[in-house]
Symmetry: C2
Subunit: 174 residues, 2 copies
Amino acid sequence: MGPSAATWAILGLIALEPSSGYDVKRIIDRSIRHFWAASYGQIYPELRRLEEAGWIAGDDARRGGRARRVYSITPIGRAALQGWLAGRETRVELRDESLLRLFFADTLPLHHAVGLLAARREGYRQMLDYLVGLDDGKAVDPPFVDLVYRWGLDYCRWGIEWCDRELARLEQAG
Amino acid sequence: MGPSAATWAILGLIALEPSSGYDVKRIIDRSIRHFWAASYGQIYPELRRLEEAGWIAGDDARRGGRARRVYSITPIGRAALQGWLAGRETRVELRDESLLRLFFADTLPLHHAVGLLAARREGYRQMLDYLVGLDDGKAVDPPFVDLVYRWGLDYCRWGIEWCDRELARLEQAG
DNA sequence: TAGTGCATGTAATGCGTTACATGATTTC
DNA sequence: GAAATCATGTAACGCATTACATGCACTA
């Protein structure tokens, strides 16, 4: 039970600013969810582990009668985070049900298979809308946070264009 | 325990050609692994479930003294597969540790952060090499199998260009 | 006063990988 | 005869989601 990649996501966010578990979840959903999702079922237990390891320190920060525990990174935690940042493994996992359907689309009537491709395009569109929506009233991000955000936008735009090209190709052929 | 997306991947491959569990694993690793991975621990139990459901039929096809069980799709299985193909959900899950590092790279010395971006580029390169390697001595694929294969190639090439653009931008700025 | 958002958490379940065990056949 | 490949399978584990339970505070 050493640290997993989810550990670093959570620790990294707390390094950016002290946060509660609820905060961590909200920040993830508004910044890295499209390439690194996390649920409460991971976040709360992980926070406890991180505190036990001395990488973060919890502080009781109740607001009125409402319980609240805010965690900050410790020097040890910061050192551990730097160690991970120095790593080079580029583990990427993709699960794309739309590509899976397209892979098996040769048995389908052509207009139906074309529909799958159009649906894929629509998927990119929705992701783009979601990402563009995040930008509303957002403060100016630090350079690399912004870089990753632009990766998301660019990827969606590329995906839409790719689908358009392939749709045109199919129309021409069929 | 209804069918999951892994069910359709396995069923779809068997629909393309009758295969053993071992075959399924090999075919996955040579065609869809980059967007849909699967291990023996999924494949063999899933084959048993599919047979119990009557979607595939197993046939004893031992080669010499070596046990071997080849499965073919049944009419019921084919109908179920068509039903899934008619679906429109475009569930995409991405876990990209390299993007995660970049997201937290603002605390790093610039040359180090640039190194992360270069490492990302290298990751795309390796995936591209892997995909290009698959092409050696491969028969001509059906149109949509080929389309999905080209998606992989095009995605890697786009990713490499994206990294190059961002690297140039950083060099110009820093 | 009803609805939304804030806040913390757990239990059950599902999905998937890793690591192992077994043994035959082919190839060098 | 050693190594690689073919072939099937399971047990243990880890990772992650879903669904639920609880209750306070703010706002329309």
